[in-house]
């Protein structure tokens, strides 16, 4: 056998072996599952997914919106601004490599103009109406591979994304200066989970967020924390029984934002 034959044999062996493992593994796991009686779906499962997304540091955009352009490309210098997702549309071609789904995101740009971005979406918990999406224009007269004239801030790391979204939330009046400072200083540390009791609305409603007073218990101490939350995050707090709070150097607590 020549070297070409050996390479071909190795490639075919690996391909077939992996495919056979997946096919037969799937059959075995389905068969095992079907031996157990089925269970009703508990709708609170959705709020548990949202809780997982809440209790992390702000994810880089590339974690939930595909990988962005290839990493060796130079990092863009244009400043980032924050747009708002209006709708998650279509998704008609599957990106077979990553398991994510090509979709179109209808967004409202910072200047109020709507536009459509073609992107890979990994996670529909974030990519939905009302989501804050950090974007920047592609160089004038240019488009990216998919024909977009705007791109996501795909290359920003956790702390940079956190700081941009905190600034944006402050500019919308969703957090005040003190909370902004407290959360900014606690960005690397992440939140603590607090048990939540009563959830009382204050009557203030801004940018799709509702201001609530949350009775929380943390470190066996009860206190009330005020903050703006999206309706689904109020439901998340209610149905998981947990909210995420930060703690600054003086021990003051602030409501951990749901970032995007």
């Amino acid at each position: 056998m020549g070297i070409g034959d050996i390479i071909l044999t190795v490639i075919l062996t690996l391909t077939f072996a992996i495919t056979a493992l997946i096919l037969w593994g799937e059959a075995v796991s389905t068969w095992t599952d079907l031996q157990e009686p089925p269970r009703q779906h508990d709708p609170r499962w959705y709020f548990t997914l949202r809780r997982w997304s809440w209790e992390t540091l702000p994810e880089p955009v590339s974690d939930w919106l595909g990988a962005g352009p290839s990493p060796e490309r130079r990092k863009p210098r244009v400043p980032v601004d924050v747009s708002e997702v209006l709708a998650l549309l279509d998704g008609d071609v599957t990106d077979g490599d990553s398991g994510s789904i090509s979709a179109r995101l209808r967004v409202r740009l910072p200047d109020g103009e709507p536009t459509t971005l073609k992107l890979c979406v990994n996670d529909s918990v974030n990519a939905r109406a009302g989501t804050f999406l950090p974007v920047r224009p592609v160089d004038p007269g240019m488009t990216d591979v998919r024909g977009n004239t705007w791109n996501t801030a795909w290359e920003l790391a956790t702390d940079e994304i956190g700081s941009i979204l905190l600034d944006h939330r402050r500019s919308l009046g969703l957090i005040d200066d003190d909370t902004h400072r407290a959360l900014y200083s606690q960005l690397p540390a992440g939140p603590d989970a607090a048990l939540v009791g009563a959830i009382a609305p204050t009557g203030r409603v801004r940018h799709g967020h509702v201001e609530v007073d949350l009775d929380v218990t943390i470190d066996e101490r009860s206190q009330t924390i005020r903050g703006f939350l999206r309706p689904e995050d109020i439901a998340t707090a209610r149905h998981t029984g947990v909210v995420q709070v930060s703690r600054d150097e003086e021990g003051r607590r602030a409501l951990w934002p749901t970032w995007y």
Partner: protein, 280 residues
Amino acid sequence: MRKDGEHCGLPGTDMSVEPEFSPDLPPEEGPADAFMLRHAEQRRRRLRSRLRISVPLAVLTVPAAIVVGVVSGWPWAWIVVGELGALCLVGTINLTSDLEQQRPRPDTALEVGVVVGVEIISWGNADGSTHTARVIARPPGSTADQLVHGTRTFSAAKGCQIRPGMLLGFRRHPTMRHLVWTEPVQDPLTLFGIYDGRSWERADVLDAIVESVHIDAEPDGDWWPVTVTARHRGELITDTRLRLPEELAQFEPGRRVEVARQQNAYLSGTSVWAVLPETA
């Protein structure tokens, strides 16, 4: 912590995985009903009949490969490749499509719930048609453990327009704890009439702009007495009723809402007003 990949699913499939809850919140699933058991048994039988063919075939490929190897004298590496290829081919027999069976429309009364969550369960491979969302709602006055959920389809070209605070019309499956059958036509005045406990069928529907939201008194469970003030052509309209905090985002000051006006049944010449929620 978040488990990456666990909640990502194949396009067009249900992405629910086995629920895991924190210890202080045990799952509220309820036992499987006859429909679920029958469906599971059908799937089990179908897979069993496939396995009865595929497993013996897979076992037979091994002696077959050995015989071919001995007789033909081809390199053993090629025989291994052929054997693995045969296992893949035979393995495709086990692939069964798992189409979720549609439950029949139950014969129970029409009820309404306030939407508190919208879980998009398919958003890929739409081919210009529709996607599915699981809509989670709470009936008026319910406690936190009385969530209901049902599926709604939406246009892939427009995206999901269902938001928390909207009303969802549904009928209960008598044997299911949370799953409900969602009404295909969601008529705003009919649903609002059920929500309000009296008929609004003959009301006029008008546009208004929200001015303010006030919380007036102590809550009844999770439900707070909320006064929404809206302006219709210079006329101020107030509507006070028990609401969840989850409902209030739709009453952001400056937003356009629909209001309903109808004749006061007790005091002729006057009207009663209500701020009308959108329907899912």
